[in-house]
Symmetry: C2
Subunit: 220 residues, 2 copies
Amino acid sequence: MFNFAPAFQTYYVMSEFNDKQHEILLVAERLFSEHGFDGTSVRDIAKAANINVAMISYYFGSKEKLLEALIIARIAGLRLQIENLHKEALSPFEKIDKLIELYITRINKNKGMYQIIHFEISSKKREINCESFNEVKRYNLEALRDIIEEGQEKGVFKPNINITLIPPTVMGTFFHFQMNRTFYTELLELDTEEKYDHYIKNDLTKHIQKTIKALLTYEE
Amino acid sequence: MFNFAPAFQTYYVMSEFNDKQHEILLVAERLFSEHGFDGTSVRDIAKAANINVAMISYYFGSKEKLLEALIIARIAGLRLQIENLHKEALSPFEKIDKLIELYITRINKNKGMYQIIHFEISSKKREINCESFNEVKRYNLEALRDIIEEGQEKGVFKPNINITLIPPTVMGTFFHFQMNRTFYTELLELDTEEKYDHYIKNDLTKHIQKTIKALLTYEE
DNA sequence: AACAAAACTAAACAAACGTTTAATTTAAAC
DNA sequence: GTTTAAATTAAACGTTTGTTTAGTTTTGTT
C-alpha cells in the first residue's frame, strides 16, 4: 500500500551503499566529471547505469543529494597515506620526493573527483559542504610542514619558506597540465594513453619534485 | 514584413559588436564563470543584462554561439605584452620576475574567462575551437623559452630544464590558489577583498617568482 | 503458501529550457 | 512626413528537466 523510499540513507552516517547504489555513484562520478553537474541529466545517469530514472530519487532523494553523497563518499579517499612515511628513516630530500609522488598518484587516481569538487566549490550556484575536504587539505599540509621543518632543523632546507603555498604549486602544476591535456599531448607528442601516463609518472613528477627541492634550498 | 536577424554577425570576422552586444557578452562572461555554461540559462543572462530573451538569439544566433563569440572575443587579450620586455636591458633574473608578474596580472584580470575556457576544454560535451587559445599558449611559451635560453647562454641558469612545464607551474599555482579561495582565505585570514588581492600581488607572486628562479638555478 | 517489505517500473507531472514567431516600436534615410 | 530597415517585445513553441505517483515484481520471513 505504501512505498517506503529509503531516503533516510541520505544521512550517510552509516555510509553503506548496496551494489546498485555503488554503480549509480560510479556512473555519476564519470558523467559529472566529464560533462559537469548541470551538463548531466538524471536520465543520462540512469541510461548509463542501466536503471530506471526513479531509482536515483528513490536511493538518494534527489540529484543534488546524489552529488552530496558522491563527494562525501569519495573525499575520505583523498587523505595521503603518510603514516608510514613519517617513521621511515629517510633524508628530508627523500621524504619530499616520496610525499610528492604520493600527491601525484593520489590526485591522478581521483582526478575525476577533483574535477567535480573544484568546479563545485568555485561555483556560486550550490554551496557544498567542503569542511571535510578542507580537513583533508589541512591534514596533508601539516604532514608537509612536519617534513620541511625537520629538514630546516637539520640545516638542509633554508628558512623563510612559505609552506602554505607549496601544495598549490604541486597540485596546481598537475591540474593545469591535466586541464590542457590536448595542448600538451600535441606539443609533446604524447599520442597514446601509455605515453601520456608515462610522462606524468616520470617527467611531470620529476619536474615537480625538482621544483620543490629547488625552492626549499634556494638562497635568495 | 520580414525580420532580418543579424545572424551573419556570428562570423565575427569584423568582430565589431554594438553596446548591447558588448553588455550581453559582459554579463554572460560573469554568469558563465560563476555558474558554468549549463548552469546559466539565457533567461538569467537576459534578466541580468536587462534585455529580452529573444535578443540573445537575435544577436548571436544561439546560446552556444554566444559562448563561441565570447571566447573568440576574449582570447585575444590573453597574449602577454612581452614585446618591450625583450628589448629592455635587464638581467635574466629580472626578466623572469617581470614575465611572471605579467603572467599573474594577466591571469588575474581574466580569471573569469580562464574559468570558462578551462571547464569547456576539459569538458567532453562541447568541442570548442581552442586553436587560437593554443596559439596564445605557444606564443607565451616561446617568450619564456627565449629568456631562459638567454640566461643559459650567459651561464646564470642551469641546463637540462624542462621549460615546457614551467607555465603549468606558474599558472597552476595561481589557479589552484584561486580555486580553493575559501580555504586559503580562512587559513591565511584574508577576510577582506583588499587583503586577498594584496596577498596575490605580493606573497603569491613572490612565491612563484622564487620557485621558478630556484628551479632555473638548481644543481641536481 | 501467505504475507510484508523492499525493489523496481512506466507514466505523468509541473517547471524550466532554448528558440521562434508575429507584432510593435524605434531610428534613420529620403 | 512618409518609407524602410533595424531593434525590441510578449507570447508561444516543442523539448527536456527533476521529481512524484501509483502500480507491479521481487525478495525474504514466517
